[in-house]
Amino acid sequence: MATTKKYWKSTAQLDDSNEIVKNLEQNEFASPIPSDEFLGNDEAMESSSTSRRDFLKYVGFSTAAASLAACEGPVIYSVPYVNQPEQIIPGMANYYATTIANGYDFASILVKTREGRPIKIESNKDAMYRGHANARVHASVLSLYDNNRLKTPMIKGVESNWEEFDKQVANQLTSLNGKELVVLSQTFASPSMNKIFSQLKGKYSNVRVVTYDAVGEEAALAAFEARYGSRALADYDFIDAETIVSIGADFVGDWQGGGFDKGYAKSRVPKNGKMSQHIQYESNLSLSGSNADRRYPVTPTEQKNIIAALYSKIVGGGANVSLSDKVAKSVEQTAISLKRAGSKAVVLCGIPDQAAHQLTIAINEALRSTIVDTDAPILTRQGNRSSVDALVKDMNAGKVGAIFIAGVDPVYSYDDSDAFAKALEKVALRVSFASSMNATAEKCNYVATTPHYLESWGDTEIKKGHVYLTQPTINPIFKTRQLQDTLLKWSGSTESYKDFLKDTSAAAGSSWNQSLQDGFYKTSVVVSESGEDVEREVISNSAALSAMASAKKPSGYELTLYTKTGLGDGVMANNPWLQELPDPITRTTWDNYVTISQVDAEKVGVVNENVANGALDGTYVTVTLDGVQRKLPALIQPGQAAGTIGIALGYGQTAAIQEEMQTGVNAYPFYKNGVAVQTVSVKDAGGTHEFACTQLQNTMMGRDIIRETDLETYRTGNKDNFNPMPEVSLNHVETPVTSPDVDLWESFDRSVGHHFNMSIDLNACTGCGACVIACHAENNVPVVGKTEVRKSRDMHWLRIDRYYSSEDSFEADEAKKDGFDGLFGDNGSLGGFGELEVPADNPQVAFQPVMCQHCNHAPCETVCPVAASSHGRQGQNHMAYNRCVGTRYCANNCPYKVRRFNWFLYNGNDEFDYHMNNDLGRMVINPDVTVRSRGVMEKCSLCMQMTQMTILEAKKDGRMIKDGEFATACSNACSSGAITFGDINDKESEIFKVKQQDRMYHLLEEVGTEPNVMYQVKVRNV
């Protein structure tokens, strides 16, 4: 259909004489394409001496020339000391004994320094007590090089200097007008600190010291004080224990400050057919519950009832307790085994209730337990909530003129932090003694920046009569000053804190140099008295009993707050090693969450599912307590008692925390009055949370990856019953896999020199994770971040696998698997294996540290196309990083899945902004171990650098190597003695003896890889 309509394209068309319009109308489609303009004319091209080929040649040549020129090495400078300190030899490590006392962790340690910078924490094995470091203490060296630390004192948020700072504070202190000066501090348990406080009291008339623990032990302290008269905690040494009954106490973890795992692990290794029996009643699945022989998931209320029932059975009193049949029966059995063990038995209590602790003390006294030590109690928890509450009131009332806040962060960790912050603002002079701008420091007008403990002096009476010294291992990196120095100065003393400390220890009768070298001294002088004097409530045992017996289950969920092996109370939240340390039970990193039982998950509507790449997703829930509402992801936890949930403290910090490390949700608002058990309501909040777990397979599916037996079977002494050698058929004859007849490989000759072996005793391993962090520090293992962990790209050279049983026990799993008959039906393997993947409601739990097994017949070595992985005569499987081209064949061929691939460059890469991306953080790197680059495979080397160093030391001295000299980072870190390392060519060595034990087996022995790492069968005393 024709049309005469004219479509106007622009107003310019109205003007007929417009040249441009005319031109466009005639020449709308310009042709041909003016390629000449782009390419030039052909003639010119042809006559030119530079063709396209030539051009490419030039490009090629100049690239090659430039890269060749770049091959010339850069100029590297070496700057020696002007005056070299006598004890420093460049390239050699020095060790100093010191003590960590950050208010949560207290331990005597050795600090390894290289060229004057601390790079690793080791246990102080000579310390009589608390001489071993847990995962947090091992990681604390990285916090020294934390980029978020304050670098100078701060006045009203502005960087300042100490003269100005002292002047301003002194001015304000003179104008207190009779108002109170309050020192709100962590537990110091420090003899010298107490003296400083009294000096301060001498200078300023109206001084009050308030001690505050973010995570406290108020109930236990009150009960101990009521019975023994001093505000302290009983000490326990489990080494001789026969029966250990724990009611809600995670004593293998952080209960009452932790540190009991060493003795406990010793008692767990069967000797002469005997080992301790451990019975655990708890609501959250804790480290202790995982290690227990028998574990009963019970609610906190039931725990109270159980205490009452036990008390009635052992001490008497005849309380009427209503318990479920199963629990009642177990309590009866427990009472019998407690009585049988008598003085070698002990009951532990983790219920945050003074009455429960009083009953526990009475039970232990009735048993005449020798496991409990009340004469020299532990002094590392002295916090007092009621004093803090009173302080908040006084601050609101305007009675407080100045407050010094030292070592604690109440604006973050106090349950009603808003109220605290508001009250704090009513104080005129607010001085925070902190090393970073934490939530409390932000609210203070002065921050007296303190150094890290590795830059400080100090003393701590961890246990009565045992004083541990802290000494600096590096010059202060920033313009910081210790709390003690500052307080001494402000109280008019001219003495330095170091001299003051010297005098204090001299007064206690110790030799300064000797104590400093050892890291501790013993004294009979009573030094650390609590600074406070508060009226205590006294309850009679009968009243306590009836209170416990009549405890009734509340309506709603019973929440038990706990602390994780990684973050603890949250002091070191800005530490990427700890953030990436998997929780030993849930194997989750970079997170906290609500742990909930399968039954309740179904009630609430919580779903956990694995997505396509295997990673775990979970729904959110809302937890409400008296108007406090928090939305957290929920993780279905096998072993969680029905009707209870658990949340970890220490997460959700934002102040002075790098963005990547601002993980999880702050659970302190639920920690009302410092009581860890609360009644809350839980509702489904929908949504999907992405967890980052390092282990997604929960069960062993009836295989014998971890070999287990019970004490009874083990006592028979018949190895075939509990530790049979796998066999293969050779000419229809069953032959052990270790027989040379079924071996495809030529054996290496290892008879001369050293042959290293490592043994891991699954009975002693508690799963604490100290070895994992020690391995990170020793071997420069990079941190990859949450999203990469979720993609299973974690770089941990050493992992601690955790397995749940699918039936009630691992034995039952195996029986079920062996009973499969055909594919379908009730006993069919198709459905059966599916069932075996699901953990039980109250599963048995087992831990297994797995690192490179250093196979003598290593599958990884044969598949490497460039021979980057090769075998050493000392038994180690070597990995030459610079030779590796990254085919990853080795990782695919490794049956243990211990090889780790560098998907990215993890150092000096802004995408991975952790300690290896800044100059300060890089100071922690061990100079003896290569920092790996992108595209290469890496794995455990059995700490080759350490064994080589031991050998060299012996060569230099011209002597043989004694047993016990060889060590790896993990074997050094293992306080429980689960990891033994040594030379099996030395027939007198411990490792040689351990290898001959009938509990010894190799992981996946049937594969025939002949690993140099061995395991000891786990024995349960059920």
Partner: protein, 432 residues
């Protein structure tokens, strides 16, 4: 013949200088006033006094030139024999000196007799000789040849050139003469050449030869190309300019200081360690200037003023040589590192020096001859491995190897063992 004469003379002159300028102290003592023997005195001075005193410059103690004019001779006897006792008597002169020098006591020398002291005093009265005199004396000793060694070398070369030129001219002249003789005698000197295929054409026509040559050339170029590529990143011969010109030749060579005196951590640690400046100051506190001959040598041969270099050390350590005190600010020296192994290779000095008993020179070359330190060895992995393959290990005398030695010698019938036999070729021994 002429050249030989020149060479001999030149070398004599060089030796002559060395012989006379090895000492920086005055060469010809002038007879002193008190009748002591200055020559005997010099020996005594060097044995007893020189560690703290210099003649013309303040050191730990005062400069001793003309000390006899400043103090009474009897006073000097008692001071030298037991200065502490003299100070104790409250002698004003003695106390003044004691206070001036930071109240540090001078050692007592009761073994010196008054005659000895006279001799020493005679020596201290010798005037400071001027450097020009010194050279004159040196030349006089060597026989009357003008110019120093550098000049004589030039003369020798010039003479040689002249001689060669003469020889060429002679040859041409002889050749011409012979030809003339031949022509005169009718002997044919130029022969008719046969028509032959030129050799290059013959070569081109022979395909076998071409093939062989081509293969040869290809292989040769591949060989050299490989060598060139393999030397990429190898800094053999790297001799950077250092912030302080430090001469290993003087320290390790002339003065025979043990390498491990300064590089002491080589015995203990993986690093040989660049010595900290306090080690330098152990000696250089009292050595503020080099001997005149050494000084001259530095200027002439290397264009380096050694004394200025020592001043740089003083500036870095904050040493005031007049006050004999560390007063200034310390400023660490940024040395340019010469031997750089990549981070992926672990090397330990103690393993090689203490356990392996290998001389430093094995890898670092003739350091005692190096005026400027340079990288002697390629430091490539092939070089390491080669040595590990070839070097026999001395297992005896080291307790660590006892057991290993017993077992290995049984297994291998007493054959000498190399490091490779002990696992020294395994990747993981150096790469972890």
């Amino acid at each position: 013949m002429l050249a030989f004469v020149f060479v001999t003379l030149g070398s004599i002159s060089v030796y002559g200088q060395d012989a006379t300028t090895s000492e920086g102290e005055p060469a010809a003592p002038v007879e002193a006033t008190s009748g002591g023997d200055a020559t005997l005195g010099e020996a005594l001075f060097k044995a007893n006094c020189a560690s703290c005193h210099k003649l013309y410059k303040k050191a730990v103690g005062p400069a001793l030139f003309q000390v006899s004019q400043r103090h009474d001779r009897e006073w000097l006897y008692s001071w030298i024999k037991n200065s502490t006792a003299l100070i104790a008597t409250g002698d004003a002169e003695a106390v003044a000196i004691y206070n001036e020098f930071n109240q540090s006591n001078m050692n007592a020398f009761p073994q010196l007799s008054n005659t000895d002291i006279d001799n020493i005093i005679a020596y201290t009265d010798t005037e400071k000789p001027t450097p020009t005199d010194d050279t004159a004396v040196g030349q006089a000793g060597a026989g009357d040849v003008s110019g120093g060694s550098s000049i004589s070398n030039n003369i020798i070369l010039g003479a040689l050139a002249v001689v060669l030129l003469l020889l060429v001219v002679l040859l041409i002249v002889v050749n011409k003469t012979l030809k003339r003789f031949a022509e005169a005698n009718g002997i044919q000197t130029e022969f008719e050449k046969e028509e032959r295929t030129p050799i290059w054409k013959a070569f081109v026509q022979n395909q076998f030869l071409v093939l062989v040559t081509a293969i040869f050339l290809l292989l040769a170029s591949a060989y050299f190309a490989y060598g060139a590529l393999m030397s990429v990143g190898v800094d053999q011969g790297y001799a950077p300019v250092q912030p302080i010109h430090y001469s290993h030749r003087i320290h390790a060579g002339s003065n025979e200081i043990d390498c491990k005196y300064c590089h002491s951590s080589a015995r203990e640690s993986k690093h040989s360690g660049i010595p900290s400046l306090n080690v330098c100051m152990n000696c250089h506190k009292s050595i503020g200037e080099v001997a005149d001959a050494t000084y001259k040598e530095g200027i002439d041969e290397y264009g380096i003023d050694y004394n200025k270099e020592i001043q740089k050390l003083y500036a870095a350590t904050g040493w005031d040589s007049d006050e004999q005190k560390f007063v200034g600010e310390e400023s660490p020296v940024r040395w340019v590192r010469i031997h750089n192994l990549p981070d992926l290779a672990y090397f330990n000095h103690a393993q090689h020096v203490t356990a392996g008993k290998i001389a430093c020179q094995t890898c670092h070359g003739p350091v005692e001859e190096m005026e400027v330190m340079y990288q002697y060895s390629p430091l490539t992995m092939g070089w390491c491995i080669n040595c590990h393959r070839e070097t026999n290990v001395d297992l005896q005398g080291n307790g660590y190897y006892e057991q290993i030695h017993k077992e290995l010698s049984e297994a291998r019938g007493g054959r000498q063992l190399t490091i490779a036999d002990l696992g020294g070729l395994e990747c993981g021994k150096c790469h972890y």
